[in-house]
Amino acid sequence: MATVTEDPARRPPGALRRLGRSEHATGWALASPGVILIGIFGLLPVLLSLKLSFQKSDLLTPETPWVGTANYRKLFNDPVFAAAIEHTLIFTALFVPGTMLVGLLVAVAMNRSIRFISVYRTAAYVTMAVSTISEGIIFLWLTDKDYGLVNSALNAVGISSQPFLSSTSQALYVIVAMTIWGWTGFAVIIYLAALQGVPVELHEAAAIDGASPFTRFRTITVPLLSPASLFLVVWLTINALQLFDEVYLTTRGGPLRATTVIVYYLWDQAFVQFQAGYAAAMAYVLFVVILIITAIQFRISRRYVHYS
């Protein structure tokens, strides 16, 4: 509000004040399409899903009887769910560090400005553009037990052909390898961007003091990469816990449920077995697990992550 004593040159008369009242209306008008859309398809479903988890529903008939906590109790006694959790956790424990390691090594190799570096980098990034389905088909073929390239390479070095995706013991690990490949591009981008933020002077100073390249890497580069590492750990874990596409395409959760992960079981229950209430309960448990694990990761990060 302009006062009489204010310098009129500094406070433009009327123009800003006039918008004061209509700013609320304009603000709401501009924000409402987005808010309404996300409200309907983002917020409302969260509540509906919670309600659904206390009901029995097959998604087709309108009758959805209330069953209280029956779905949740059934979850804790479900051996398939327990196995799904185990498979998901094994997958996550291998996938996350694996992708970070591969991404870091490749990023470090690519963090230089020699000729053709952009070609090399594109080759590294390009896995990001490959859809999970394409990836699944390629690896089904690569690891084919009779005609696959991987088996022929193994034979060439004297190892017998492996069943890979047809084996209950190997299938999950093949999926780990496949998804690491798919996510390498993403990890390389993150680490490359972070590496380029490491000041050259720090390395120079340490080198003058006689530190070996390996020591320099360990004591300068790695700590300065820790914010990027934290982001990757959190983001990759969240995605790993939600693994679905690759499992659907390659093994449909088999063989003999060896690769059934949480979301696969969830989808199967909801859209194939018509147990939507049960699936909703499962989804909420997954949600809580993701929140808890993410919170733990952030808590641990306080000790190890350095922000410059």
Binding site: L30, G34, I38, G42, P45, V130, I133, S152, A207, T221
Partner: protein, 310 residues
Amino acid sequence: MTPPVGASTATDAVRPSDDESGLEADQPERRRLRLPFSPWHLVLIPIAFILIIPLLWMLITSLLTPSEANQFPPVIIPRELRFQNYPDAFTTAPFGKFLLNSTIVTLVVVVSNLVVCSLAGYAFARMRFWGRSALFLALMATLMVPFQVTMIPVFLIVKWFGDNVWSFMGINHLGALMLPNLATAFGIFFLRQFFQTVPVELEEAARVDGTSRIGVLFKILLPLSLPAMSTLAALTILTSWNDFLWPLIVVTSQDQMTVPLGLSYFQGAHTTDWPLLMAGNVMSLLPMLVVFVVAQRYFVQSVAATGLKG
């Protein structure tokens, strides 16, 4: 793995062959090979090659004859290039329809996101209105919720829209593929962050001249936000095109399928005809590969930005 890999990176990037920096002081001169090119090429070429082997193998297989494909050890260099696999794949499954559906859905989703998210992003960035913070917080909270929690109710909501509003929006129609993705909390967040980096003085100067709020958005902010918009567009194109789970849930007939879904059905129908499958796979992959290579800069920026914000 050579030890100097990590530590010398920063210096190599700036001074590849400079010897005066004193860094080489503790390393004997005779270790430096005199090559006409950087030795790193010898490391990077194999790495790049290994990373794209799966894609190369897909390409080679797509040009094999079925008998060649069923040989073991596999044929690495095909005797003849069987391009016929591609037209065959195109006629065996309606790839043209898959590509068309994906294009329509992705186009609508990207345009909608750019429009809706910039309006909302601007409102949250620059305008004061009642409930702004609470609303923004609620929107951001949705980012924490995994899709699996919301997918079942969204299925029911979309079904309701299809039954009661417009069938195009309903189950097994392209509208259902578009509807839940017309705006994303991520898009609003991303653009809000960006708009906040634009100096307020620019807007104020314009408003002093009498430009309305919306005018400021169109005449000042949008022209400046081309990089951010391109980045959001690139990311949205990729996620929309490659989306699988939602189309799997919602689409039940082949003529409504998007590329990933169509491809998975194609694979299910021709599980052992690998050359045909790979031809279909190449056709499905090509659009996104082209988009990616052309817009690589924006993809890299968007991923790096989200990663470094922490």
